[in-house]
Symmetry: C2
Subunit: 296 residues, 2 copies
């Protein structure tokens, strides 16, 4: 899996590099900041999931790539805005100073805006199968928007440092909604978008959706576990921030061990959803297992 992922990651990085304007494009500062924020050694999970979903349907990476890059642009923009002093106030991301630390807050805000804008431009201009573009952009926007990823961010902010001793049942419901929106929505659209490009049938689309949704939920739990148990070097960002900011997470709410078990159960559910594809889904199942034991 490691070798497979790093091969795909290289492909994705090449494409990202191609779709980004050169750093000498006028005005230079913002194009430097955009490249700095995207080309910084991310995992490229969303893009790779899209490519792998395409492969499940026998569709070449090339056909899915513009959409895969759009996902990474949106992911990168969300990290740049998340790291801002007014938000999570993070100095380090993927082992390097965050965008606003290097380029200042105004350029960081504008770089995020530009990356979000670029993601839709790339889909509109580079997806070969023109007829699918409106639906792709609609799904992408809904996953990234105020009832998707951005809505999840709002819940995240509203539930940190929350002093009210709400009943655990209520907190669990909020937490699941937060994870569904903050993380699972974009991971789900990564797979769904690729399935749409691949002309998947309705039943296949549902299976892929269920897989990616559970994968996304599990991914966020593992993220929160790593924030507690990993070191700064492994993680590439400041660990222990969730506890410090009193964030609502599964490890905080039900403890590390039970959070771990929950992540495992979700991965099992994810894999089961792929059974209709038979052996062809082998790699996607392996990906789910791999993300469970990742160290960053």
């Amino acid at each position: 899996m490691e070798t497979y992922l790093s091969t795909k990651r290289r492909l994705v990085n090449q494409a990202l590099n191609k779709y980004l304007l050169p750093s000498f494009t006028f005005p230079e500062t913002i194009h430097q900041a955009i490249r700095y924020s995207v080309l910084n050694g991310g995992k490229r999970l969303r893009a790779i999931l899209a490519l792998m979903t395409g492969e499940l349907f026998g569709v070449t990476n090339n056909k899915v790539m513009p959409f895969a890059c759009a996902l990474e642009f949106i992911h990168a923009y969300s990290l740049v805005h998340d790291d801002l002093p007014a938000m999570d106030n993070d100095d380090i991301r993927r082992g390097k100073p965050t965008c606003h630390k290097v380029f200042g807050e105004p350029i960081a805000i504008l770089s995020g805006d530009a990356l979000l804008t670029l993601s839709f431009q790339i889909v509109a201009e580079k997806i070969q199968h023109k007829k699918i573009i409106p639906e792709l952009i609609s799904e992408l926007a809904r996953a990234a928007g105020s009832v998707g990823m951005i809505g999840g961010q709002v819940l995240d902010i509203e539930n940190e440092n929350s002093p009210n001793p709400a009943p655990a049942g209520h907190k669990k419901r909020v937490l699941e909604q937060m994870h569904l929106r903050k993380t699972a929505a974009m991971i789900t659209v990564s797979a769904r978008g690729a399935a749409l490009i691949s002309n998947a049938r309705q039943k296949q689309l549902s299976a892929i959706t269920s897989y990616a949704r559970n994968l996304g939920l599990s991914f966020q739990i593992v993220d929160d576990i790593l924030d507690i148990s990993s070191s700064k070097n492994n993680l590439g960002k400041t660990p222990g921030k969730d506890v410090k900011m009193n964030k609502l997470t599964y490890p905080a709410l039900i403890g590390l061990e039970r959070a771990n078990k929950k992540a495992k159960r979700l991965v099992e559910k994810a894999k089961k959803a792929l059974d209709i594809f038979g052996k062809k889904a082998h790699l996607l199942k392996q990906l789910a297992d791999y993300l469970l034991i990742r160290k960053r």
Copy 2:
């Protein structure tokens, strides 16, 4: 013209209201902040220009409206992010407290992000003529992106409080580039997008482009003049900010009188570009004259 504009403004406001999610949508805060930032009595110039361009080609307002609303969502997002403490740090907009003053900085950042996302969603989902959608989104994204409006914002930031005594010729070039990107790009795409929806021929598209580009340049000069000469009540935002922040503007660079003359010359150029349409372009010409003598 006043009556015509206020009729159209009412139409646009109704459509904006329809396309925005209700304020009780979960999570409520962001949907309240989004509605607050959009439905606050803006001029709706970009939307109305799109509708008027459609009318020039005999196309109903309904067909252009989703695109017109997308323009206003982008405009509203740009104002919310502009007003942030890290950017222009403005407390008042359209006579009311700015978004971050009411909802806090994190929600203001996320509301802007959500509005930008929504603008592409609306075009992708609501434009009836599906085949034109990829081109519309491409043009919209380019006008709003890092070489368009966002690029103009970067130039604006980089040239405020600039202590270096650059030669006037250089400053003029930067200033024109800034206005072309910061304001004219979005005003141009407002008219071009509507012309594309109306299946305009190449020659017509060029004429409309030239009209809107010059209109946009003139509009920004008048904006900068009003910042100096208007009162807070008239303007609905804090006047005199450009001088205080030592912004690069035409009034600052060549004086009020010459700036006024330049705005007038640009409006004449804009109107002349419409001559190929004959009498049908009457209203668009009137709009150009009207924007020159506006008080806010």
